[in-house]
Subunit: 437 residues, 2 copies
């Protein structure tokens, strides 16, 4: 099967690729860490060797994007799509980091010998085939493929159609790279069809694909979640809250709020709604309003009735307005916008978070240890923080060495995850003829 | 809200119960092990004190079942439904075992201090609300409720309508039992409606129920899987294989096969298809045929062309017939029936298992360590065994101390699971004002 063949039936062609991935996955699952790391090295070399072809393919995608594009989002979309030697080098450096990670496969999670002599072990093993659906981000192609390889999984990639030429060039190079290693090239599959029927079929390949991880915006995740019959690990969407308690170091809180909101606004761990205890409103609100007024790019504040006067004192008229609770409190802004609400107690803050949180990242900023302890215990979210920027929710920042995504579900993995989240377990039972009474 | 009120809108009434469970779950999630164990003790006492009312309710269900019943399965159905003082005592004894289990909640699974001083912990916490859908088995009502309570979860029970009176009596007693403890009675909810719309709504209570565990036959599990939007932990369905390799202790293999098939035939870990290496056919097939011929109740063998003559020699004509591959190899018999197929190699056995396994329990019986190692490494199933009866797949036999079910999925938990499978995790980040650069 040639991956560049023109398929007569694109859905069936996609199924054949998934079947090839499944078979290759069986070989890959049994490889040692050294064999997988060697393949990662060879793959990285071949990506660097293929730089010219990859950048040419990317230029093709960029041109098509410019021709088709319009609207304010075109710039950031093309920026995400763009590859250059520096970005390719960065992708290749990251492969080295993946190779350096511990291999989770084969780890013995528990072991016990039963009174009847049965030796029972629970060991980590690969899923088999992991599906990744994502937008037009070339780095995800390489990132996802190498994390799957390292965790012993074959991968089926369904990337954004705007990056089709780039994805093809990257996957072709990665497959060539592993050709002389123990990893079968068929373990890396790309569904390079823009046909929506292929995407639908991909999400319903139960029995061929073991799990699908969507990487991208809220819309993509919702789509995957609704269409998939393959189990999905939900990632990404969030409404992030920070609560400033009555007892607080105001200077520290302001710095934390500004970092949580403004360091990068386009990512899922950026602050959306600030809850302020009324006792801290003046002490924190005043310097915060000044800091936001001075911030470049400008930040817009949507404040409730009690907070509004404080912010209106410092922010120009166009950048502060009354919050619309029905809309704002459930919005992931991904922009320089902050909702602010004053609360009368920790309990009111917890109640607000309970109603509006998407259980991604929630933080409390306080000098009161008891309040912090209650917040950490009672808030139901993947990551709950005390006196730390919400922007720390990230696999690398957590010390995982990599990240395939940030799970916002409760099953399997929660929060930032990398290799371990791409594995399952099995029970191995070694006996000597034991019969069950 | 009175749980015995006649609901005007049963679906809305069910949602109110789930909402009450969610709120109660928030209290329950924060309780200590001692508080939960005390509640389990009180609940057990009240069950024993309420024996008369419970048995009276059960007698009502039994009568209704006898009036409505027909067909061969009535006997076993009524037997599962029946409660008597001995069975109630056994249920109460099991509660003591649940109380004795370690509390998974609050366990720190990993902890690291980052170079910037952030202290990051991953801790176990309850799901929140667990839904259990099951058939007319009174013991599941108590079993599921107590395992959920111990793991800090509220529970919404949707039991079989044939056991409605019994379930109501059991739940009422359990709720009375916890009344004077720290556990809110609302943490145990019963959807006591036979309305199918309630079942449908229950399976789609995303946002109210965190996970649903179906306990019962393949049909129930498939139904839950197909209808649910709440995440489901699939349990139960299986086609169990045992492979007898060329090099084998024939006597041991025969004993293992008979135990795997016949100890109990109605459970998911009972053997369905026996694969025999041709080199072991005479040595194992002959004594196996004699053993099955002598077995009471009688066992029927469905053999492929090569195995048929061996079994026909010993089994009466009505109890041995040619296998129908299209049907038999994908059937979970739950009966005294065994399919037998002769294979030429370990690879052929692995291929057959790959095509027909439901990834529950698979076994190899052999004296060849290398063959066993390959089988354990390559078979993709929740439990893979060497020289042990397949009937050992069970939470208690594995040393978990209890079992809520046997997961046949790869996400979250796999194989027999108890308290840990009813928990999720969250990341707790403690800082001192760290900003992300």
């Amino acid at each position: 099967m040639r991956s560049d063949a023109a398929p007569s039936d694109p859905v069936r062609f996609a199924e054949e690729k998934a079947r090839a991935a499944q078979e290759a996955g069986r070989t890959l699952a049994l490889l040692s860490r050294a064999e997988k790391d060697a393949a990662l090295g060879a793959l990285r070399e071949e990506l660097l060797r293929s730089q010219e072809a990859i950048l040419a393919a990317n230029a093709e995608d960029m041109e098509a994007g410019q021709r088709a594009g319009r609207g304010a989002e075109l710039g950031s979309k093309l920026d995400r799509l763009l590859l250059n030697p520096a970005r390719l080098a960065e992708m290749c450096r990251a492969i080295g980091e993946v190779a350096a990670l511990e291999d989770p496969v084969g780890q013995v999670l528990e072991r016990r010998t039963r009174p009847n002599g049965l030796d029972i072990r629970r060991v980590r093993c690969p899923f088999g085939v992991v599906g990744i659906i994502y937008e037009a981000r070339p780095n995800v192609t390489v990132d996802a493929a190498t994390l799957c390889l390292k965790s012993g999984n074959a991968v089926v990639l369904k990337g954004g159609s705007d990056a089709l030429a780039t994805s093809r060039a990257l996957v072709a190079a990665m497959r060539r790279g592993v050709e002389r290693t123990r990893v079968p090239p068929a373990a890396i599959q790309l569904l390079d069809s823009a046909d929506r029927a292929v995407t639908g079929a991909f999400l319903r390949m139960r029995g061929l694909i073991d799990v699908i991880v969507p990487r991208g915006g809220a819309e993509l995740i919702r789509f995957a979640q609704q269409q998939a019959t393959v189990p999905v690990i939900e990632t990404g969407a969030s409404v992030v809250h920070a609560y400033v308690d009555a007892e607080v170091d105001a200077g520290q809180a302001v710095a934390l709020i500004v970092n949580s909101k403004c360091r990068r606004v386009s990512i899922c761990n950026a602050l959306d709604t600030l809850l302020v205890h009324r006792a801290a409103l003046e002490a924190v609100g005043e310097p915060l309003a000044r800091a936001l007024a001075a911030h470049d790019p400008p930040v817009e504040v949507r404040a409730d009735g009690r907070a509004l006067p404080v912010f209106a004192r410092h922010l120009p008229a166009g950048r502060v307005r009354p919050v619309e609770p029905e809309r704002d409190y459930d919005t992931e802004y991904l922009d320089y916008i902050l909702a602010v609400k004053v609360v009368d107690s920790l309990d009111e803050a917890l109640g607000h978070i309970r109603r509006h949180s998407l259980k991604h990242t929630e933080a409390i900023f306080t000098a009161d240890g008891a309040a912090a302890a209650r917040f950490l215990a009672e808030v139901d979210a993947a990551c709950v923080m005390h006196n730390a920027s919400t922007q720390f929710t990230d696999g690398n920042q957590f010390g995982l060495g990599a990240e395939i995504g940030i799970s916002t579900q409760k099953l399997h993995v929660r929060g930032p995850f990398a290799l371990e989240g791409l594995t399952t377990t099995k029970w191995l039972v070694a006996g000597s003829g034991q019969l069950r009474p």
